[in-house]
């Protein structure tokens, strides 16, 4: 079964206050539970803020260590889920539910050679 990466695009900076964040986390947990119940769920990870990232850059024989994140911008991947879905429409449906629950943009990207 093909797999898709659903990544949450999170604005940098402080997280919203608990009265905003708590219901969001609850809604996201509900989507995740539905993914498991449907047998679509493969993997989920929430990430620390992008300013905790470190970038390693090949430089000749050496590898440079640089304070991250890699991509400039005001948003970075804040977490991701991998799902199994028969086609893009099915993956987009999960992504749509994640976007509604999180109130954030979700990027849906096919995993190469995803699933067997």
């Amino acid at each position: 079964m093909p797999q898709y990466l659903l990544s949450l695009q999170q604005p940098d900076g402080d997280p919203p206050p608990p009265e905003v964040l708590d219901p969001i986390m609850r809604d996201l947990a509900a989507v995740s539970a539905d993914m498991r119940a449907a047998g679509a769920w493969v993997f989920t990870a929430a990430l620390h803020p992008a300013d905790t990232a470190t970038v390693l850059r090949p430089d000749g024989d050496d590898v440079l260590v640089v304070d991250g994140p890699y991509a400039e911008g005001k948003e970075h991947v804040g977490g991701f889920t991998v799902v199994e879905a028969p086609d893009l429409d099915a993956a987009l449906e999960w992504g749509r539910r994640m976007a509604r629950a999180s109130t954030l943009p979700v990027e849906v990207r096919p995993v190469a050679g995803g699933g067997v």
Partner: protein, 403 residues
């Protein structure tokens, strides 16, 4: 003999649709169909045209695909070739072909593809236009268009955009997307957003062909019929819309004997048919407005009422602007101008163009000339610009106009 090119235009889309289902891949389907047409070009002049050219193309394309899979000779390919051989070698039943053609359309117009890619894919795969023709129609280099198509097909394959007619629940939304692609092809053909000529006949004709195909495939969808009616009614006036010297002729000044009476009749009949369903949508209402214009003298009160309905169904500043034009005909240019001045439509030449016309009719020549200037600066089409410049000369003291 019916030349290969005619058969090509006639049956390319159907053949690609059928082969896409058989092969599970748009690219492979195109390749197989192109192989079949290459074979036709070589053989038909000697062997004669087969009794069912379209069926011959599908069968030959299938055989070519099997040959190719065998040559590639991986295990996977052999399995697929074997599976293909079990497909009965008889003309597919018409209902099944219809489903394939619809699937292909919905795949090409999938919302996960960029709008420009949807248009290009639809013209290429469903319409059978060459990459060069599409590139020429949209005034982009052929390499750019080729890359756009490759990228779109790559996404269909990698992301697994399904080859399927959407479920009932998603159908209205997805159908709107398909209709928008056809409408976009027509709009670009009708008033090219850039370039010298006003009309790109090839794109208009292609949009009408797609509209007819859709109406044949989904005869029970009122908006499908509405779109076709709209295209036919606008298309019916094409010959009258540009003068012999290449100048834009406004509707009121058009020579009605140059309208295509058959298209007018067909369009008006379609409008009646779809409105009887009692499920009005934006395309049906736009078609109804064109039907009123096709029955001169225009009943402007009815046009205003229809724009009221359109504004409720699909509110947009452009619709509001068109409504203001109709109001000006009923209640006078001052009433129209008041509505126009309340609108916000930045960077669009139509707003200053309409303002200019209303100011001209109110005798406020200096303001009209300034508004024509603003419209000219924003208009991308040379024929439209020439029309606006002519009008500006008429209201400018040095222009010596007699309007």
């Amino acid at each position: 003999m019916p030349d290969v090119e005619a058969v090509f235009r006639e049956s390319y889309g159907r053949a690609v649709a059928i082969l896409t289902r058989l092969l599970g891949d748009v690219d492979a389907a195109e390749e197989a169909v192109q192989d079949a047409f290459t074979t036709a070009v070589a053989r038909w002049p000697h062997d004669g045209v087969p009794p069912s050219p379209a069926g011959w193309i599908v069968t030959t394309a299938r055989n070519r695909a099997i040959d190719r899979l065998r040559r590639e000779a991986g295990r996977d390919e052999r399995h697929r070739a074997a599976a293909l051989l079990t497909v009965p070698d008889e003309p597919p039943e018409e209902g099944a072909v219809r489903d394939d053609r619809l699937r292909l359309l919905f795949t090409c117009c999938h919302p996960a593809l960029a709008p420009a890619a949807r248009v290009a894919l639809t013209l290429r795969l469903v319409g059978g236009l060459t990459t060069a023709e599409i590139a020429h129609a949209f005034l982009v280099p052929e390499a750019t268009m080729a890359q756009r198509l490759v990228r779109a097909k790559g996404k269909i394959r990698a992301a697994r955009i399904p080859y399927r007619v959407p479920h009932e629940a998603d159908l209205p939304d997805r159908l709107r997307g398909v209709l928008a692609v056809v409408a976009l092809v027509f709009t670009e053909g009708h008033t090219a957003s850039s370039g010298p000529g006003l009309v790109r006949t090839d794109l208009c004709a292609e949009a009408v062909r797609l509209g007819r195909e859709l109406a044949e495939l989904m005869p029970d969808e009122p908006e499908v019929l509405g779109l076709l009616a709209l295209l036919l009614l606008v298309e019916s006036r094409r010959a009258a819309r540009v003068s012999a010297t290449g100048e834009l002729v406004p509707l009121a000044e058009q020579d009605r004997t140059r309208w295509d009476a058959a298209l007018v009749a067909e369009g008006q009949e379609l409008v009646r048919r779809c409105l009887r369903r009692g499920a009005p949508g934006p395309y049906q209402v736009q078609a109804a407005i064109q039907a009123v214009h096709s029955d001169p003298p225009t009943d402007w009160r009815q046009v205003v009422a229809l724009y009221d309905l359109l504004l409720a169904l699909a509110p947009s500043p452009v619709v509001a602007l068109n409504r203001a034009v109709a109001v000006a005909e009923v209640d006078g240019p001052a009433a129209g101008l008041a509505l126009v001045d309340a609108l916000d439509l930045p960077r669009h030449h139509l707003l200053p163009a309409v303002r200019a016309d209303l100011l001209r009719r109110l005798g406020r020549d200096a303001e009209a000339a300034a508004a024509y200037g603003a419209a000219i600066a924003l208009a991308g089409n040379a024929t439209e610009r020439a029309f606006l410049e002519r009008r500006r000369a008429e209201v400018s003291p040095s222009g010596g106009g007699s309007a």
